[in-house]
């Protein structure tokens, strides 16, 4: 009888190993070495993030994590401070020749990380790569997913070595806020190495240069760029970065991120969950900071489905929620109540609006006017023999908030319960108007109603941005008209008046329960200084220092 041949097993194992590694990268990569310390710089800062960037190409992503890493390597024409202020960065000045034409004068003497100078050619190339169809050739020709962020840009032309002119299809008031999200890339370098070479070794004009990245961008190592021009003159300190090296590392699990900070493996951690904040605050080696958030939470009520087709019921739902209690108990005080359909930090918020107060008596009264009373004494309101039952659909992320809201509704006799979904699964049902009420948020990182207001409160129009996130199926002709006017009105005062009116109507018609806006919470080791979280969740490491 044939004895087993050991070589067979070894051969099998080798076969498996071969198959598994056949497609692995063959060029030797190297994990990061601590860089030589430049003058005035010291230390390495490890930033732990919850998710990985999807790309290091400024033109080829739609993710906040990508932007966080990218904007430490690449500067844009303009940048934003930690709240909503926009400041010149690579642009020295910008002037609107008319409502559709923007003249940009570029800063001179700015160097890319390969030592070449940034000129108008690079700026034109950058924007053409974003707006032209199929301009990104790798891995297959495709159009930049960031085109939508600058959709009104029709063309850009070079008017001098350090000046360009941008032509827009029509007036575009949020231009400055949205230009913040586009970073300048080097034309000559990308033309030489292609997009594939560029994402393997990206080069920008930012305060840090690329050193290495692990597969999947799970770890990206950056090193101080000694020849940095200094950044926006408005945002001090101006000059090269304070630290020598920055490492962006992905730690998806929040409690592991907290552990990494406590164990000294991370210096700054993002997205700190509310329940872990007390542990961090109790630790003297840790500092916890917040910034105004950009993700307002609403409970959208389907205005075409009973009982929410009655405005009194929708208002009652707003009066029945004790937002202050939620902010205190669930968010530890780190949230603000929404004054209406816009975030209080939005540049065009209606300042005369204030949050619906908590008034259960008023809620009960409004429900009574709408015909909802507890006639059979079972503790649940009813109308025409039907009990008031209500399912709040939401995502697992908002469980405590949704359950608290449901509990407050039960307190006034509404049989409310909560059901959890995956967003991509429920989205189609929401758009089809099949759900009663949906609790979620919608990002507002540009601090402008555009990108936000038309998605949530304009009636749905297929193949346009209008109503693409409108889950209450709300549509009011006057509001629709105002939203469209607001998009093309350049004069800030006139624009404010337009949005004030639109917000007032939406507030009064209450297609949603305007809940709260949680703050961005981040934590850092006590050795970190000059650090503050930004509202748009970006981690700007330029000014941050670390004591050794």
């Amino acid at each position: 009888m044939a004895r087993f041949n050991h070589r067979t097993i070894i051969a099998l194992l080798l076969l498996m190993a071969f198959v598994f590694t056949a497609c692995a990268p063959t060029a030797p990569a190297e994990t990061a070495q601590p860089a030589d310390e430049g003058p005035g710089a010291s230390g390495t800062i490890v930033v732990a993030m919850g998710a990985a960037p999807v790309s290091l190409d400024p033109a080829d992503h739609r993710s906040r994590e990508s932007e966080t890493v990218i904007r430490n390597m690449f500067d844009g024409l303009v940048t934003r401070d930690t709240s909503s202020g926009v400041h010149m960065q690579l642009a020295e000045s910008m002037d609107w020749a008319d409502e559709q034409t923007l003249n940009v004068k570029l800063r001179e003497g700015v160097k890319f990380h390969d030592g070449t100078e940034m000129t108008a050619d690079d700026v034109v190339f950058t924007f053409e790569r974003i707006i032209n169809e199929n301009a990104i050739e790798y891995p297959e020709p495709h159009t930049s997913p960031r085109k939508g962020l600058i959709a009104p840009l029709e063309s850009i032309e070079k008017t001098g070595d350090y000046s360009v002119t941008m032509h827009f299809r029509g007036p575009w008031p949020p231009a400055m806020q949205l230009l913040v999200h586009q970073q300048i890339v080097p034309k000559a370098y990308i033309e030489k190495v292609g997009t594939e070479g560029f994402i393997a070794k990206p080069i920008g004009t930012g305060p840090f240069k690329f050193v290495s990245a692990q597969p999947g961008l799970e770890e990206v190592v950056l090193e101080r760029f000694a020849d940095y021009y200094g950044g926006s003159p408005d945002l001090t300190p101006v000059g090269p970065a304070c630290v020598n090296q920055v490492v962006f590392r992905v730690i998806p699990e929040a409690s592991t991120r907290v552990s990494a900070l406590l164990a000294g493996e991370a210096d700054i951690i993002t997205n700190v969950p509310q329940d872990l904040i007390p542990n961090l605050e109790a630790n003297e080696n840790v500092q916890v900071k917040t910034a105004g958030g950009t993700q307002p939470k609403w409970l959208e009520l389907n205005v075409h489905m009973a009982p929410f087709d009655d405005v009194n019921v929708r208002k009652a739902m707003n009066y029945a929620v004790d937002k202050d209690l939620i902010i205190e108990k669930i968010f530890g005080g780190r949230a603000v109540a929404l004054p209406g359909p816009l975030s209080p930090y939005n540049n065009f918020v209606n300042k005369s609006l204030s949050p619906y107060p908590y008034d259960p008596a008023m809620a009960t009264d409004l429900l009574k006017q709408a015909g909802w009373e507890d006639t059979d004494g079972d503790g649940i309101l009813d109308k025409n023999g039907q009990p008031f039952t209500f399912t709040i659909d939401t995502l697992e992320d908002w469980r405590p908030l949704a359950e608290a809201v449901a509990d407050m509704y039960r307190a006034i006799g509404i049989d409310a319960n909560v059901r959890f979904w995956e967003y991509s699964v429920i989205k189609d049902q929401l758009m089809a108007g099949e759900r009663q009420g949906y609790l979620d948020d919608w990002g507002d990182s540009a601090f402008d109603p555009v990108g936000h207001f038309e998605a949530k409160w304009h009636g749905f129009v297929a193949d346009t941005p209008y109503g693409r996130g409108n889950f209450s199926t709300y549509s009011n002709d006057r509001v629709n008209e105002l939203i469209e006017q607001g998009e093309t009105t350049g004069d800030p005062a006139a624009r404010q008046a337009i949005y004030d009116e639109a917000q007032q109507i939406v507030y009064d018609e209450a297609p949603a329960v305007f809940l709260i806006l949680p703050e961005e919470v981040e934590a850092a080791s006590a050795s970190i200084s000059n650090w503050s979280p930004a509202s748009d969740s970006r981690e700007n490491m330029h000014d941050v220092c670390k004591a050794e």
Partner: protein, 337 residues
């Protein structure tokens, strides 16, 4: 003969992979959710027709059978397409993630075998002793403890409190490891980088223990029960009556014959170790395949999901084949079918 049989079995995986590919292709498309819509997120505006352009780019506007044809045609040429979200070829993405996953699975397997074999054998030999009861209770605990909980407890104890082991990741910064294969332990040995070797081994400990604990428990329990069976068989009694030393009876006569059910279980567990470690990869920030796949599922990144599931299927089939080959070694009367 055996070589030919093995080759036959390897070739037999081709129709299996084909079947898996078709099933995954349809199932993932049956799941509600539009990849383009998810990809564009919320912020900013989307120009009219932009979503349509993306659907066209990914062929999502074509009928399903045409999409399937594109997929199978490209897959036959070794091209699994490119990820909608990460914009890179799926084969490259899987290839660069697999070493981390395999390294962790091997670490967990080694840990579980090192723990399970002594426990299984000793529990059987000293049945109903306090040692047996203790190890079987521990095994029960090992099966019951969810990985995310055990992982976090281990991190808090060994990393945050005692500072013995790193919290997360595969290697510490600044070891200067040159990567050739993507297996950090192997690369450290190949390049003679002792600091990197130490660091990568230390980083492997907690995730391997967490991933391996339930596996060790399963193996120990199976090994114990099959040992108990063989220890009561006639040939063991005969060996003892011939005066063979007890340890030799246990190792040579009982353990070897108790190995067949154990190897079956180990084989299945290897598949689970490779395919089911998403949770552990998340807890320990381990940059492996599992996490990428979970994200791909949430993103409805069809090509990436298809490619990864095919790799998982292939791994299961191969693990079973290796088990079958090992049977013939453990019991020469068994032949490969």
């Amino acid at each position: 003969m055996r070589g030919i049989k093995i080759l036959e079995r390897v070739l037999g995986t081709i129709p299996i992979m084909f079947g898996v590919a078709i099933i995954v292709f349809f199932f993932i498309r049956l799941t509600p959710g539009d990849p383009v819509d998810i990809m564009m997120g919320q912020g900013g505006s989307i120009s009219a027709g932009e979503l349509e352009n993306l659907r066209e780019e990914f062929h999502l506007n074509e009928p399903l059978h045409i999409q399937l044809w594109y997929f199978l045609r490209d897959a036959a040429q070794g091209d699994l397409g490119y990820s909608y979200v990460l914009k890179q070829p799926v084969t490259a993405l899987i290839g660069e993630r697999l070493p981390a996953t395999i390294e962790l699975a091997l670490g967990a397997l080694i840990f579980s075998l090192l723990v399970a074999f002594p426990i299984g054998v000793i529990s059987a030999v000293r049945q109903n002793s306090w040692l047996d009861r203790l190890s079987m209770s521990t095994a029960f605990l090992g099966i019951s403890m969810p990985g995310f909980w055990l992982g976090i407890i281990l991190i808090l104890l060994f990393s945050v409190q005692l500072h013995w082991l790193p919290v997360q990741g595969r290697i510490k910064l600044g070891t200067g490891l040159e990567q050739h294969t993507g297996y950090f332990v192997l690369d450290s040995i190949l390049t003679g980088n002792m600091e990197a070797l130490k660091s990568s081994l230390l980083h492997l400990v907690l995730p391997s223990v967490t991933l391996g604990a339930p596996v060790a428990a399963v193996i120990a329990r199976v090994l114990r029960s099959s040992m108990l069976e063989t220890l009561r068989s006639d040939y063991v009694t005969l060996a003892r009556s011939k005066g063979v030393a007890e340890w030799w009876v246990v190792i040579k006569h009982a353990l070897r014959n108790a190995m067949i059910p154990t190897v079956t279980v180990v084989g299945l567990q290897v598949g689970i170790l490779l395919g089911g470690n998403m949770v552990i990869e998340t807890v320990f920030g381990w940059p492996g395949l599992g996490r990428m796949v979970v994200k791909a599922i949430f993103d409805r990144d069809f090509p990436l999901i298809q490619g990864a599931v095919m790799i998982y299927a292939f791994t299961f089939v191969m693990a079973n084949l290796i088990v079958d080959v090992m049977y013939t070694y453990l019991n020469p009367r068994i032949r490969l079918g």
